[in-house]
Amino acid sequence: MSTIKVSIVSSSEEIYSGEGTMVFATGSLGEIGIAPGHTPLLTGLAPGPVRVQNGDDEKTFFCSGGFIEIQPDLVTFLSDRAERAESMDEAEAIKAQELAEKNMHDKESELDYTKAAAQLAEAAARIKTIQKLRKNK
């Protein structure tokens, strides 16, 4: 089976580097599936889960915003922050979501709206990742 080289890096560390037969991620214009031999593509990376399939083995990672570069034989995720989905804490994520929601509604808050919205999107994506992971188990 043909594979594609996958690397997921965040600014502070390398999260994953290896082969995959199929990769799923959330691009800035929607979900994309990447198979070996994909056309060169450069797109934004929206906060959300990134799933790397290698045969029957599947790994899930969480990436906050960034970029995806795709070449026929390799795919690179440049994430601002990425983590292994297993190490994520749902309680923390929900707390972050609540805080972000509060910031959005709180007009007195000095945080500007776009920042709060981005925070909210990230927290929601985090929770989605955890829940997806749980379903798979």
Binding site: S7, V9, S10, S11, S12, E13, E14, S17, G27, S28, L29, T39, P40, L41, L42, T43, G44, G66, F67, E69, Q71, T76, L78
Partner: protein, 287 residues
Amino acid sequence: MANTKEVRKQIASIKSTQKITSAMEMVAASKIKKTQNEMQLGRPYSEKIKEVISHIANSSSEYSHPFYEHRETKKACFLVVSSDKGLCGGLNINLFKQVISKSAELKEQGIESNFALIGLKAASFFKSVGGDVVANVQKLGDKPDPDALIGLTKTVLDLHRNGEVDQVYLCGNGFVNTMTQEPKVEQLIPLPTEETDELTPTHWDYIYEPEAQELLEGLMTRYIESLIYHAVIENSACEQAAKMLAMKNATENAGDLIKELELLYNNVRQAAITQELSEIVGGAAAV
């Protein structure tokens, strides 16, 4: 001649200084490991983003980014990365000297310069030297946060975008090994285009989602940010290494000084005893 009490006091004070410097040496030695580790962890990202950028440079993109554009230079901006704390030998001063000489060199060509500073030491140096400071971040701590640098990066990039600055130089110390650190002044913008002979000109291009311009703008900014962040981390590793060395030397010097003072102390004490004895003998003879 000095009296024994005075000398003893001096020895005690130098000994306590020695204790401090040797403790600082040990602290720096343990921090080096951490900062070096961080440097290594950040490396994959900078390598990957560099790879992506070079892919883009090699593709026949429909859109060329202003960071690659060589325009007539009237003003240059120096982004100087320094440490927040002193006691690290000539680390900062060596770098500043190089920055100043480069800026003087540019001035001969009619290019004015201004400065964007990271770290307390750079801020105080350029305050005393006098220079047009456009941005300043300090007190990043031992674990620099990439978010803390975004503001400064944005200021510099905006200056470039508005045409107020035509060249940007990144100045920081390069970590060679624990004993050697090297001040570097590197051109950041315009990005040096790499000559790739082995790659024949390709005629492929990426599919961009959404627009090429928007995407490349973001990616380029992120690339510059990652370069700056890496420079900051590298500089902090250099700082710890230089501090360890400086403190080691200080501890050794204190040891030498204590040895000399102990010799002096013994001399003084012996002289006092001899004098006392001769006084007693003299006194006995007189009786």
